[in-house]
Amino acid sequence: MSNNKIINWFKYASPQSFYPVAGRMIPWFWGLAAIFFVVGLYISFFVAPTDFQQGEGYRIIFIHVPAAWMSMFIYLVMAFWAGLGLALNTRLSSMMAQALAPTGAIMAFLSLWTGAWWGKPMWGAWWVWDARLTSALILFFLYIGFIALQAAIDDARRADKAGAILALVGVVNVPIIYFSVKWWNTLHQGASVSLTKAPSMATTMLWGMLIMALAFWMYSIAVALTRVRAIILEREAHTEWVKELPEVKQ
């Protein structure tokens, strides 16, 4: 009786049972992403007030900050799945890690690109080699390296292992990015929003940013699940259950 109540998580660790579950979840995440993007962008462009110093240019934070948060968080999740795959030899974990990498790389690129656009008018430079910017660039290279390493090794299981080691080694960079503005003096400003102190920004600006962050979350989950389904089909193409799928049979 009590056993029935507990969800058997290990059941979903097999690609075969995860594939349809992911398929059912994807539309929900796309829907939520669309809602949050519409609301978030509306607040960002029409509700949030102009900044006292930066004028309208500050509105880049509604993309920049969520993208930067996402790039760091996705890396942690990716390294977690990669590490789990390495330790437990579970195929799906490694597939999740592989599915997350391109989205993480896009987020890292977005944060660097929008940052450069903001930096030129505000700081007077597109790019400076301070600790925050440099460590964020390293994060982007780690993603690219992970993707390239996985693609370079033909045997999927060996590619997973090599990628996992790279992903785990790179984890040290994430706290460095996050705390860089605290540990060293940098040109990049400190955190406006953190867990330890009240946010130093106007409430509507903050809401716009948080809703945009939620939109980025939903988008990332939807895209990662879509991608992991494609990876499952590719890697399990030899199995009977994949051959029996209606979308494959056609």
């Binding site: 007030p49 102009t50 900044d51 006292f52 110093q53 930066q54 500050y58 934070i61 590490g83 390495l86 330790a87 437990l88 030899n89 008018p121 505000m122 700081w123 007077g124 430079a125 400076v128 080699w129 301070d130 600790a131 785990l168 080694v169 984890v171 040290v172 460095i176 540990w183 060293w184 003096n185 940098t186 040109l187 400003q189 400190g190 955190a191 406006s192 130093s200 920004m201 106007a202 600006m205």
Partner: protein, 146 residues
């Protein structure tokens, strides 16, 4: 110990080793990672002599003096200040009482000749009305003190 426990231990140990190694490296590189030196460090002679470096701090209130395209101002960390000379276009956010980073050389007379000036923005984001309210409150406080 099962093989997977062993792998967990290896991964955990590996991560700890990498963490410690990077902490030591970063600690050793500490001063090189800093983007700029403070006026106090410059006055105490900790800044590189005869080399290009960056100095950072607040632009001292009332210190900006323009002379055609050449700008004179002082960078302060409230304890010490360094006079800076710069010829060129300043970023929009460059203002008195706000952060700035200047790159250049220190002259023998203690002034700093900058070849590049960047504005350092702080983490405060607010509408003009809020800034006005903050200014009013600060003024009121000053009057009370007097």
């Amino acid at each position: 110990m099962k093989p997977r426990h062993k792998r967990f231990a290896l991964i955990g140990g590996g991560l700890a080793a990498i963490g410690i190694a990077s902490a030591l490296v970063l600690n050793a590189l500490d001063s090189n990672i800093a983007f700029f030196v403070t006026p106090t460090e410059v006055v105490e002679g900790k800044a590189p002599q005869g080399k290009i470096f960056r100095i950072g701090g607040m632009v001292k209130e009332g210190s900006i003096r323009r002379d055609n395209l050449t700008v004179h101002f002082a960078i302060t960390d409230t304890a010490r200040e360094v006079p800076v000379t710069y010829t060129g276009i300043l970023p929009d956010l460059f203002q008195e009482g706000k952060g700035a980073v200047a790159q250049g050389r220190i002259n023998p007379d203690g002034t700093f000749s900058a070849t590049e000036v960047l504005a350092k923005h702080d983490e405060n984001y607010m509408p003009p009305e809020a800034q006005h309210a903050v200014d009013q409150a600060q003024k009121a406080q000053k009057t009370i003190k007097q």
